[in-house]
Amino acid sequence: MSNAAVSATETREISNEKIFDAPRELVWNAWTDPEHIKQWWGPIGFTTTTKHFDFQPGGQWLHTMHGPDGTDYPNEITYKVIDEPSRIEYEHGDCPLFYTTVIFEDLGGKTKLSMKMLFNSTEDRDDTARRYGAIEGLEQTLGRLTEYLAIQGK
């Protein structure tokens, strides 16, 4: 269990990237209109009901996600940065754990969408390295914990 393994520099925040065969304007609209959002937001089997949608910096999107098993998940998203048509940043939750950045990149008729969720606690808010460290740390620790967890059960 060397320190070298623990301090590996690979950053592994929650992130996702995909190229869509659609112009950037359309992809942007899909994120910024509740009628569009409800068509795709959430894992397979989930539906979304919007209660309030105020798409501007400081504005909120209040919505409930309905799981396939009937469980409702109320959600609160506060938009922090809106830079049409290339960037949206928002906080999720009333006690924000994560800060999400979504980048829309024009690839000439296609659009590359990249999102990142960074750990966001009050004390670490201005320290990107620490935010990154949280999930990186979780995955590194868990990587070596798999056996241990299996023994512990649950």
């Binding site: 623990v6 996702n16 795709w40 620490r130 999930i135 979780l138 967890l149």
Partner: protein, 127 residues
């Protein structure tokens, strides 16, 4: 999709520090005393104790009192919960992006058919 935010927040805060991650990494291979933890990290016992307190408060480790020694050991549940949470979000984004892909295709197909075929009139190939 929020589950016990405070607990998760404590877990992530504890994990945000490289020294604490090193301690957890060490404990993953078995229980250890404070001095055993301090030695390879070239840290003083009080410095390590400070980190142990944070980890203990977050519920990630426990310290036992036995006759001659007080070993620290790992508590797996909060890490498992945090890992499940991360996994849930990864799934959220992968599946949302797949759905968005399908939706954008459908929208464009609809637009094309509306442009090519306004007001539902049938397009004649010979026109």
């Amino acid at each position: 999709m929020q589950t016990s935010n405070d607990k998760l927040s404590a877990t992530f805060s504890a994990l945000a520090d490289p020294t604490r991650r090193a301690i957890l990494g060490r404990l993953a291979s078995g229980e250890a005393s404070v001095s055993e933890l301090a030695k390879p990290m070239k840290m003083t016992m009080p410095a390590v104790t400070k980190h142990l307190k944070v980890l203990q408060k977050a519920g990630l480790i426990r310290q036992e009192r036995r006759a001659q020694w007080r070993p620290c050991y790992l508590v797996a549940t909060p890490l498992k919960e945090a890992s499940d949470w991360v996994f849930q979000y990864k799934k959220f984004w992968e599946e949302s992006f797949d759905r968005l892909d399908e939706y954008l295709k459908a929208l464009q197909a609809q637009n094309v058919s509306e442009t090519v075929n306004p007001k539902g009139k049938r397009k004649n190939k010979d026109e």
